[in-house]
């Protein structure tokens, strides 16, 4: 009985709850004072909605700036109830918001002129994730030398905080413009896709622009390709020569023999 009441209660907080479930849930509640049981349930629904929107605003401050606080709150009212909420850590909430935003941009006339919003949201999400990411190990150069001597193939492992993004819009420039109130002089439309890398250096998230081959190299490492496979692609000569720099900047943090 106990779990049945709880299940009814929690399910009835969802805005899409059926009338039948809502009715059954309210029938488990005492009639008290000036509020009906349904109104009392709505206090909880509103509390959950408000706290999740608040969490989203913390992760996506530039999207809030662009859309305005009220519009953002309205737009995310349904999202917060449909979003993945399987992690007790609120810092993990809203990771799928860029996908939701993409749907909104495609279906909402008011957002038609802001097609870059999903990519901008991905950048903000990556920034937030980098801030909270686990620390990386110190690179084991001696171990690498030992493995190299033995001629074993290895995989290079990228930082826990690393996120690679590609966009047809100058979202890094846009983001800096809003975040740091920079001059818009540098804002130009891009003729080709831009590639970005977000990661944490010491305690601060960083966002840098990459060329396409460096992006592809880091992407291959992230996907677990071994170094021999990567080197067999002749386009990778440039990035391969930059491995020491990638290690120095913390983009590559360890390796594992295959």
């Amino acid at each position: 009985m106990f779990s049945t009441i709880q299940t009814l209660f929690a399910r009835s907080l969802h805005p899409t709850v059926s009338q039948e479930t809502l009715l059954r849930s309210t029938q488990t509640l005492r009639q008290q004072g000036g509020l009906s049981p349904e109104q009392r349930l709505m206090i909880y629904r509103n509390n959950v909605t408000t706290s999740l929107i608040f969490a989203l605003k913390d992760i996506y401050p530039v999207i809030v700036q662009i859309l305005g606080d009220n519009y953002f709150s309205l737009m995310t009212q349904d999202y917060v109830w449909s979003a993945d909420s399987s992690n007790p850590d609120l810092n993990h909430f809203g990771r799928d918001f860029p996908s939701y935003l993409e749907q909104q941009v495609q279906t909402t006339p008011a957002l038609e002129e802001l097609p870059y919003l999903p990519d901008l949201a991905s950048l903000e999400c990556a920034w937030h994730a980098a801030y909270y990411a686990d620390d990386d190990p110190v690179f084991d150069f001696d171990g690498l030398a030992q493995v190299a001597q033995q001629g074993q193939p290895i995989r290079l492992k990228v930082s826990h905080s690393l996120c690679l993004l590609a966009s047809d819009y100058p979202v890094l420039t846009l983001w800096k413009l809003h975040r740091y109130h920079q001059s818009p002089d540098s804002l130009n439309s891009v003729a080709q896709t831009e590639y970005y890398c977000l990661y944490r250096k010491h305690y601060s998230p960083m966002a840098i622009r990459l060329n396409q081959t460096d992006f592809q190299f880091l992407e291959a490492c992230q996907q677990g390709c071994n170094l021999d496979t990567i080197a067999s692609n002749e386009n990778m000569a440039g990035p391969l020569s930059k491995i020491p720099m990638f290690i120095r900047h913390g983009l590559i943090c360890s390796f594992e023999p295959e």
């Binding site: 004072g33 826990h160 944490r200």
Partner: protein, 291 residues
């Protein structure tokens, strides 16, 4: 309630600490000022769920705070009354945090926040019955076994009561303290909010508190709506809650007090004013006793 034994029996867990006086809930926005000025605050309560990051700035900042102040952990994610199985990943992470930062104690709420794998990030209410008492007590004992320490359980604010409830909240808490061998984090603001929302008498409620099992007191501010009070932690402690606090300290004045202020967070100095007020009330009570 015949099956419930006295709440005052000894615990198998030891709980000793240096936490005394009125502490403050640590909020990120205040940390730079605190670390720069090292104000004379007896202890801080840490929202452990906000400091779960495995790396980066957040744990370093907490390490710095820990070097200068005693701390306690306050959690929202144990979901002590959830029908779901205990979240072992969450508890393992919490145990790691406890090992790393050595809080004097750990607390969570008499509520559930998770159902069918969905986290609501809110403190949802439960019916107070013999069945739920048995169930929640068992869960708390399991958590204490995993964490290898007694925990504090906080009475929560609520906006509903269930027809199924056969016990009052205080009867339930008495039973829980006994059956689960946990301690009570008494939130006096929640007592006031609930009594207003459900037309109970707060003074009578406080009279029935098992004094020897209260380990910590929370004071916070609510937001008043026309038909109910919302436990919003966005205001100063109300005069009605201060009155209840005065009433409580007449019976026991040696329990650590914590000021919570989580939304519309004011300047740190304003938080300290609230703590100073609590300390003045405690000092006046002690003078009265001496006289």
């Amino acid at each position: 309630m015949n099956s419930i034994t006295s709440p005052d029996h000894p615990s198998r867990y030891g709980t000793t600490s240096d936490i005394k006086g009125t502490g403050l809930g640590l909020r990120g926005v205040h940390i730079p000022e605190i670390l720069a000025q090292l104000p004379d605050i007896p202890w801080f309560e840490i929202l452990a769920d906000n400091h779960r990051a495995g790396g980066g700035f957040i744990p370093r900042q907490l390490e710095a705070i820990r070097q200068h102040y005693p701390i306690t952990f306050h959690c929202v994610g144990m979901s002590l009354a959830s029908p779901d199985v205990l979240d072992m990943t969450y508890l393992r992470d919490l145990k790691r945090q406890i090992r790393d930062f050595e809080p004097a104690w750990v607390s969570d709420h008499l509520s559930f926040s998770q159902l069918e794998g969905h986290h609501y990030h809110d403190l949802l209410p439960i019916p107070y019955t013999e069945e739920s008492l048995f169930y929640v007590s068992r869960r708390i004992r399991e958590v204490q076994d995993i964490l290898e320490q007694r925990i504090l359980v906080e009475n929560v604010s609520s906006y509903v009561e269930f027809n199924e409830s056969s016990l009052s909240e205080m009867e339930f808490i008495h039973g829980l303290l006994s059956e689960a061998d946990c301690e009570l984090l008494l939130d006096i603001n929640n007592v006031y909010v609930n009594c207003q929302n459900h037309d109970h008498d707060a003074a009578t409620y406080l009279e029935s508190i098992p004094l020897t099992r209260v380990r910590e007191i929370h004071l916070a501010g609510f937001e008043a709506f026309p038909d109910y009070l919302l436990d919003a932690h966005n205001n100063p402690v109300s005069s009605a809650v201060w009155d209840l606090f005065r009433q409580f300290v007449e019976r026991r004045d040696d329990i650590p007090v914590l000021i919570e202020w989580d939304n519309n967070i004011p300047e740190f100095s304003r938080l300290r004013e609230e703590a100073n007020k609590a300390d003045r009330i405690l000092a006046r009570q002690r003078r009265t006793q001496v006289a």
